[in-house]
Amino acid sequence: MTFRRYMVLVCVMVSGAFGDTFLSAGMKQVGPISLQHLFGLVVALKNPWVLNGIILLIVFFASYLTALSWADLTFVLPATSFGYVIIALLSQFWLHESISLSRWAGILLITLGVGFVTQGPSYTHHPDVDSPQDSAVPSLGEGIVAEQEKEHSV
């Protein structure tokens, strides 16, 4: 893992957490939407908080795609779990939501449990699907570079 790749993971965490929090702030202004009036979800897109939340989630999506191009899904998700803590801090200190001790315990447990996954390999090498001789048939492993294979073997 290079410094730049760690920065991509940080971008996934921060943009995702702020995006979700902006959406929440916007939806609180819009108010509850009933199943009978689902069109209200489209109207909610006019809210500036919702719009900014969407922009941040686009940033999140771009960095998430970048991370998935060189790492496993089961690596990227836990590696970016610190976003839950950012959401909790933002919702308590900015949105003034009440977070009970058990919710804090849950958030910390999630972060502690999954944070150390980053110590393991980021990518699964698939000899059966990654090998060049299989390239005649497009596969899930197509296009993976030697750098990732080397990284996994360390």
Binding site: K28, S69, L73, A88, G106, I110, L112, V117, E142
Partner: protein, 129 residues
């Protein structure tokens, strides 16, 4: 915020989790098909990297599922606090993704990743209290 919509909110979280898992698996599969972004970008620039993504059908399937997940999230957020909905949905998605990644993407979900899945389950239990 009002938290008296318990079962309905958890049903909505279930919908978010299912659609998000389908989206994640399809998009992770697409990105594995496409390959390392850094390599593509150094070879054919940012435009080439974007085109590589836009030419992938699996990516659009994933995008559709993620859009469904997004509107479900928006709907749930209008009823419940973000500090419950966002972590609960994301954490449960992590667990379902671990299973789906192992069986569908054939990822090496080793003891570290399974242990993480258990921690997330317990964490979600505490979150919902």
């Amino acid at each position: 915020m009002n938290t008296s919509h318990g079962p309905a909110v958890w049903l909505m979280i279930g919908v978010i989790v299912l659609t998000a898992t389908a989206g994640d698996i399809l998009i992770a599969g697409a990105m594995r098909q496409i390959g390392d972004f850094d390599v593509i970008r150094s070879r054919s620039g940012l435009k080439g990297a974007i085109l590589a993504v836009l030419r992938n059908g699996r990516f659009f399937g994933g995008l559709l599922c993620m859009a469904l997940s997004f509107f479900s999230l928006l709907f749930a957020l209008s009823w419940e606090d973000v500090s419950l909905v966002a972590p609960a949905a994301a954490a449960l998605t992590f667990v379902t993704n671990a299973f789906a990644a192992k069986w569908i993407l054939k990822e090496n979900v080793d003891h570290r990743r399974w242990f993480a899945a258990v921690c997330v389950c317990v964490g979600v239990f505490f979150l919902s209290r």
